[in-house]
């Protein structure tokens, strides 16, 4: 289970600073001690297995980020469990490592598993403090056959014929789209079990579903270029959020209206406050805004969080890190914006209960 060491010890050592930095990182008992020369180990828990998308991203980012922190540090990347990161997140809680000495890096599935009440998720995603995250996009495409090529067409009542949409499962980024359609009052019929990326695209191309949610920038072109006359048309985005958590246009697709605007135009009013909206925000955060995230425990002191976030901001400028994000069709979010997403996760217990009841009612989903 132990993964490679990447050592950044001596060449980064600025002995003068080391003592101070170590005091900041060390647990209380150690603070009185003089500067240690032995590097302190930072455990970086990653959703495994080796070579998983999260693992690859971690190997790119973790050494760069650790190099920005003070002190002789010894980075240990540990792949834990499966790709959904549930085991890694569980370990993160169970280990209870000292502040600043452990980071968690998991994909959207971990937060989603917690949100929908997966019994395996023995952690609370609201306790994660994001250092940085990778956000996807959230463009909803409609088929032009069947009149799904405009917002008005989408919102038109269709007695007896629902809008068909596919999703891998309710624990996927598509959950936000399902909740958005619910907010818009659009009757939908959901087909679960479509494995990305091939199944949804195939079903959309074949006309088996009317709507397709694209969560990666790289998949946008493929979604609109369907064969023959049946084209996919980008209708709207579910929206991005700003630092205050307000819904705004997706920076990747600034021409498309976000959910709030669409609701205004087809229902003539702002999105109604309440558990349905809060659940949507939580799902949007978990599934789209935090497609990958690096987290510290909630108890971490503010100064350490600030150090990590500053480091993350520098890493985000790194050419290789940027090109990896572009290649994956993702945007890098600074910790503060990612923090707004995590705050959106912190819907009230009643909101979360509403979501779980809604899943049970709509999809008979009882984890």
């Amino acid at each position: 289970m132990h993964r490679p060491h990447v050592k950044f010890a001596r060449r980064h050592l600025l002995r003068g600073l080391a003592g101070a930095a170590l005091c900041a990182f060390a647990p209380d008992g150690a603070r009185a001690q003089p500067a240690e020369t032995r590097p302190r180990r930072i455990s970086w828990l990653v959703a495994g297995p080796d070579g998983s998308p999260t693992d690859r991203l971690a190997r790119l980012v973790a050494p760069r980020l650790i190099a920005t922190l003070h002190g002789p540090l010894d980075l240990q990347i540990e792949d834990v469990g499966g790709e959904d990161g549930v085991s890694a997140a569980n370990q993160f809680v169970a280990r209870g490592l000292p502040d600043g000495m452990a980071a968690l890096m998991v994909p959207a599935a971990s937060a989603l598993a917690w949100l929908i009440g997966d019994a395996r998720a023995r952690y609370d995603a609201r306790n994660w403090v994001p250092v940085m995250s990778w956000a996807g996009t959230s463009v909803l495409f409609g088929r032009n056959e069947g009149g799904f090529d405009t917002i008005a067409g989408l919102a038109r009542p269709r007695p007896g014929a629902s809008a068909r949409i596919g999703a891998p499962g309710v624990d996927s980024p598509e959950l936000a789209a399902l909740l958005a359609l619910n907010l818009l009052g659009i009757e939908t019929r959901t087909t679960l079990g479509l494995k990305p990326p091939n199944d949804p695209a195939r079903a959309f191309a074949a006309g088996s579903v009317d709507l397709l949610l694209v969560t990666r920038g790289t998949d946008l072109a493929a979604a609109s270029a369907r064969p023959g006359a049946d084209r996919g048309v980008p209708l709207m985005t579910l929206g991005g959020v700003d630092e205050a958590g307000a819904l705004q246009r997706d920076p990747a697709m600034p021409d498309l209206p976000h959910l709030g605007e669409v609701h205004q135009s087809v229902r003539g009013a702002a999105l109604p406050q309440g558990p349905a909206l809060n659940a949507f925000r939580a799902a949007l955060a978990a599934g789209i805004g935090l497609q990958y995230g690096i987290y510290l425990p909630r108890s971490t002191p503010a100064d350490i969080i600030a150090q990590w976030r500053q480091g993350a901001a520098r890493v985000a400028q790194d050419a290789e890190v940027q090109s990896a994000a572009t290649a994956a069709g993702l945007r890098i979010l600074p910790g503060t914006v990612a923090g707004a997403h995590v705050r959106a996760l912190a819907a009230s217990p009643a909101d979360i209960q509403w979501l779980r009841d809604w899943l049970a009612r709509t999809y008979n989903f009882r984890p």
Partner: protein, 662 residues
């Protein structure tokens, strides 16, 4: 799509750069070695490689994996011809005429013809693959969910041919494979099935681990039990030129059997393991003078070897354009592609065309390299086969353990490996087809999700209004009929004398265990949501009914019924080479496992080598020491160079030990 000559040319040029050629060459050498060593075929060979390719540059990893895939069936010829033991499952039929030729002192003639035929077949496969890629786009677009489901069902029909003498057992093996494949989360609902509250099972069983357990471990056990039979020295003799000439005289035959190999490979499923028999059948049927077949007819070798290399090119077609594997080894290969971050399908064909051509060129070049190398070093390589197996076994076992661990870096993998190995040993012993098991395991996920999607997307009318559906239904029917008609009347898992008086206890216990497993599975999924349970419940129900049927047939104890089969009976009756009971080596493996879990990999390795070689070989302590030290050094080198960790045990949790013991 027009033919993208520019991409083809640039990929080809890239193949001969220093950033690619060493990887391709490495894959080729590994493939030849895996082929030459009995017990390891393409499936096990790729299972050993795939856990190590993550983090490599995608094109380099592909060149390496393709090199291995392409040349296993060239290397295995040597073992089949010289030793009469299949170097891999796909070269069983090579033995029929190759081994008699070697006994006549004409091994060189047989090998020469075989290598050249392998090369031509392999190039033919690569050509077919490149043609398939050119027309891939419209084909992929024409395949909706319903068509995909039928394509996968077409693969399942392969079970009929693979079942061998007992169809019921083949179906049972396939069913058990499906049930084990379905462990973990349901594709549609995310519910967990048969996880028994064990965290490890939530993610499902990893394919490379199961494949290594079911395919490699039983063969290692089997070869260990054969003991001394391997070590006979066989001269290569003469006839290199004659063999090559005869091969060229039979180019028509090679192209026909290559075509068959390609076609069977292109149908999803694990056709690769039977294609040699089909090719052999055709070779005999189409020959005018049949008198020498089985006694050393060179055409028997040429026909088979042409087909079993072509099969890989064919098998890569559905693997690359649909993401559905065409053979056991391509199933693992597919896993490797995903590990390096590529997703087969339309996107890959359109956006990563250079990657696709890397595969095609690697396949073609590897076939030429493989044949060339085998021509050059057959004499030396032949010596590999004279090493008594007792010396090779601990090395192979260690590598299998290590690769299993690396597949996700979980120590639990080793437990799963041994359990899969025990299952494989008994599947083999009682004549349940292991390729059929693997088909079930691999295709389960595809069947389940496509079945579920098809039910949601189509009504019967809309489904049947699609012309391609009818074409595929026709293919399924043809494949079923042909499979039942041409089903080989022998066990695909070795020989046994069907006997009345022999022990029926073990067979009965195994069958009862399958019955119990299916019943427990049904119980486990009974309270799940309809969508999560419908597939495993139907599969478990079918297995249960089949198992009860098999029990009824079994208890009639008809000696002519293939359902009564125990390879142990054959063993004991032949006596020759019988050295230890089947369980004996399972205990050795369990011992190794226990040592790893307690003391970590390095300490266990040293202890196992010392104990095993001392107990089983006649080597002196000093040579045992050298072998142990060299294996330990190899493991340390691999771990160090590839920055991989070795499994730790309980000891490491309590005590801080220095590398490499930590």
């Amino acid at each position: 799509m027009s033919i993208p000559f520019d991409v083809m040319a640039s990929s080809l040029a890239n193949m001969f750069t220093l950033s690619m050629l060493p990887y391709l060459m490495g894959g080729v050498l590994l493939g030849l070695m895996v082929g030459v060593l009995p017990a390891l075929g393409g499936t096990a060979g790729l299972s050993l490689l795939v856990p190590f390719v993550f983090g490599m540059e995608p094109n380099q990893a592909l060149a390496m994996m393709t090199g291995l895939l392409a040349t296993v069936n060239t290397g295995d010829t040597l073992t089949s011809v010289l030793m009469g033991v299949p170097g891999s499952a796909a070269s069983q039929a090579t033995i029929l005429d190759g081994f008699p030729l070697a006994k006549k002192g004409q091994a060189a003639r047989a090998l020469s013809a075989a290598y050249l035929a392998s090369m031509i077949g392999g190039l033919f496969g690569a050509l077919m693959l490149s043609m398939a890629i050119v027309v891939a786009r419209p084909v992929i677009l024409a395949f909706g969910t319903g068509e995909m489901l039928l394509l996968v069902l077409l693969g399942i029909t392969m079970v009929c041919v693979l079942s061998g003498a007992s169809l019921v057992k083949g179906l049972l093996a396939c069913g058990v494979g499906m049930l084990l494949g379905a462990v973990g989360s349901a594709p549609a609902t995310g519910e967990y099935r048969m996880v028994l509250n064990i965290d490890y099972l939530y993610d499902g069983l990893p394919l490379p681990v199961v494949a290594l357990g079911v395919f490699a471990l039983p063969e290692i056990v089997d070869l260990l039990r054969r003991g001394k039979a391997i070590s006979e020295r066989m001269e290569l003799g003469t006839g290199w030129g004659q063999g090559a000439r005869e091969c060229l005289q039979n180019v028509g035959l090679i192209l026909r059997t290559s075509g068959m190999g390609c076609l069977i490979g292109a149908l999803p499923g694990i056709g690769g393991s039977v294609v040699d028999w089909i090719a052999y059948g055709h070779t005999v049927q189409s020959a005018r003078d049949k008198s020498q077949f089985g006694k050393g007819d060179i055409r028997g070798v040429i026909g088979v070897e042409g087909s079993n290399n072509a099969v890989q090119g064919g098998a890569l077609i559905p693997t690359l354009i649909f993401g559905i594997p065409g053979s056991g080894s391509t199933a693992i290969y597919l896993g490797g592609i995903i590990v390096i971050g590529l997703q087969p399908g339309m996107a890959m064909v359109e956006q990563n065309l250079d990657t696709v051509y890397t595969v095609i060129w690697s396949l073609a070049i590897a076939n030429v390299l493989g044949a060339g190398i085998m021509y050059a070093i057959s004499g030396q390589t032949a010596k590999l086969t004279t090493i008594p197996y007792v010396y090779l076994a601990p090395f192979m076992l260690t590598i299998v353990f290590y690769a299993s661990f690396q597949s996700g870096g979980r120590t639990e993998n080793l437990v799963a490996l041994i359990l899969a190995g025990v299952l494989g040993v008994y599947l083999r012993r009682f004549g349940y087809s292991r390729p059929a098991f693997l088909i079930g395991f691999v295709l389960q996920n595809n069947i389940e999700s496509f079945l579920y999607q098809t039910i949601q997307f189509y009504t019967i009318q809309t489904l049947l209004s699609r012309w391609l559906i009818w074409v595929l239904i026709a293919l399924v029917v043809v494949s079923l009929a042909a499979g039942l008609k041409f089903r080989p009347n022998y066990s695909t898992e070795g020989e046994s004398t069907h006997g009345q008086e022999h022990k029926v206890g073990p067979q009965l216990a195994f069958l009862l265990a399958i019955t119990g497993f299916a019943a427990f599975y049904l119980f486990d999924v009974h309270d799940k949501m309809m969508l999560g349970a419908v597939f495993p419940a139907s599969a478990a129900g079918t297995v249960l009914v089949l198992a009860l049927f098999a029990l009824w047939r079994f208890l009639r104890m008809d000696p002519n019924d293939a359902i009564v089969f125990d390879a142990e009976v054959g063993w004991r009756q032949r006596e020759e080479g019988y050295q230890a009971s089947l369980q004996h080596y399972i205990w050795w493996m369990l011992g190794f496992l226990a040592m790893v879990l307690l003391f970590g990999f390095m300490i266990a390795l040293v202890a196992f080598f010392l104990a095993f070689l001392r107990a089983k070989s006649t080597a002196s302590w000093s040579s045992i020491g050298i072998m142990t030290a060299s294996m330990a050094a190899v493991m340390m080198l691999i771990s160090h160079v590839m920055v991989l960790y070795l499994p730790g045990g309980l000891l490491q949790q309590w005590v801080d030990l220095p590398w490499p013991f930590n």
